[in-house]
Amino acid sequence: MLFTSYEFLGFLLLLFVCYYTVPKKFQWMLLLLFSYVFYFLANPYYLIYISVTTVSVYYLGFKIEEQAEKQKAYLAAHKGTLGKEEKKAYKERVKKRQTGLFLAALILNLGILAVLKYTNFVIANVNGMLHAFGSGHTIVFVDLLLPMGISFYTFQAVGYLIDVYRGTVPAEKNLFRFALFVSFFPQLVQGPISRFHDLSQTLYEEHEFAWSRFSMGLQRILWGYFKKLVIADRMLIGVNEIIRNPDDYTGAYVFAGMMFYALELYADFTGGIDITIGTAQCLGIRVTENFNRPYFSKSIKEYWRRWHITMGTWFTDYIFYPISISGPMLKISKVSRKYLGNCIGKRVPVYLSSFAVWLATGIWHGASWNFIVWGLGNWAVIMISQELEPLYRRFHAHFHVEDKIGFRIFQIVRTVLLMSCLRTFDCYRDVPLTFRMFGTMFTARNWNILWDGSLLGLGLQLTDYLVLLAGTVLIFAVSMLQRSGSVREKIEAKPYPVRFAVWYGLFLIVLLMGVYGIGYDASQFIYNQF
């Protein structure tokens, strides 16, 4: 069931009615039921996978905490009788048992994700190698079911497991409550990747119906539909035309496609997250924000703090930090300082850990070399800019342009262009083709297509471009207004006729200008495939 389907709207309506009608203590149970129905309607077999993840992480997380509680009780009971060394040895034994349980859960769940998502990628590469060595053998691809949103719910569950193992959150004692945390349907499709500590604060609470909160949620859903149906799905037509016909569209068309894709991806992903957060808000549940006006970032590093925030913090907290401050990495740091000098040596752990993080980020995004190269491309750009930092500092000390509006605009445009270049790997079918198409931009002699009307041949009419332009201006204006706080709250403070005009107007725009038509099926959200 797509977020953009009529069935979904009916599903939401039924949920809202039931949610605020049943006794409040049953609200979270109702949410669990609806979440499982949502997943069941997508594909009944998906339930098997999400149930395995839920039960295994719940049970092993529970056992990990049980070990910690036993340790606490044992140490309290033997206070004063145990020596320092005995205490230490006992703690180490407990930690070892906890680590065993932790690894079992980790291997099982990441193993499921890896097998379902990457088996055919591995087979394709093995076949490629067999072919390169002249072998006539090929391994047959396997037909595996990839559950919707598996990367999101697996990461969410694994994040919880790590937190329990670290002792930073208590293990959830109720299996069904934990099942809701893993399967909460609005964020099942494309995140955000919530932390147990954050989501659980409002997920299980009893919620009284409050019109102001409910209407705010509906407004956010409407804004999400505007971005998805009016902007993203319209832009998709042009993007698809360019990237699916690489021989016909080279040079300046690649540049146009790159910029179109930047708009499409933003409208698609942030629109989907708006629908997610708006739905949760209607239910009285607070979901972590996933974007903070990313296209206003002045560097790629900053961009990644503002785009898909929950994924970035997940990788930082659960991969980057543990690797970079692990015992072996601290030893590497020591050795590298000795042989490479303090200045370079101390940066080695950071660079190695970042490499691992970006490799994992690329792999997480998809089972293809395109995403791996995309991930490592991000890593390379961030590392280069990190290395150039002293140079930037000298430049700013000399020229004092840091606070000049012109320079800030230059930094923002540079970041958008850099990110758009890297994203071409998302678009084309393989890495060599991506490089080839990227290269055509530098030898292009067809830049006139940007203004001579050729872009009208991409399946988009002049009216489509006008709608896209107006929509982009509107998104930009809203982003500017967001600098001083919530735009919905600002509108809320206006007189009733103004509010009515704004929201009814937006509703009509979505209704009349959304990309529909006879036989048209709203496209899947891009991040749905992850």
């Binding site: 670290r166 590093k301 930082t316 543990p322 401050i325 601290l330 020591k334 950071v350 850990s353 990190q386």
Partner: protein, 76 residues
């Protein structure tokens, strides 16, 4: 404390670490800085700061970080 201030100042010479208590909140320290600090602290104080202690409240000021180091020293 002086040794810690020296480590931090080497990283960001322009920041007053004696008074600033929003190092993480104001994004003065990023994840790269935090890893470098942990590595330097391990070297200078022979203390391992594990990932579970990487919280804004522990890195927002030099004083908070110093308190954490002392706590870990006592535990070890």
């Amino acid at each position: 404390m002086e040794e810690l201030i020296e480590i931090l100042t080497n990283l960001h010479p322009d920041v007053d670490f004696e008074t600033c208590d929003t190092l993480v909140d104001d994004k003065i320290l990023d994840s790269f800085d935090i890893v470098t600090i942990i590595s330097e602290v391990a070297e200078a104080f022979d203390v391992t700061i594990s990932a579970k202690y990487i919280l804004p409240k522990n890195f927002n000021s030099a004083r908070a970080l110093y308190d954490l180091i002392q706590k870990l020293e006592d535990e070890e």
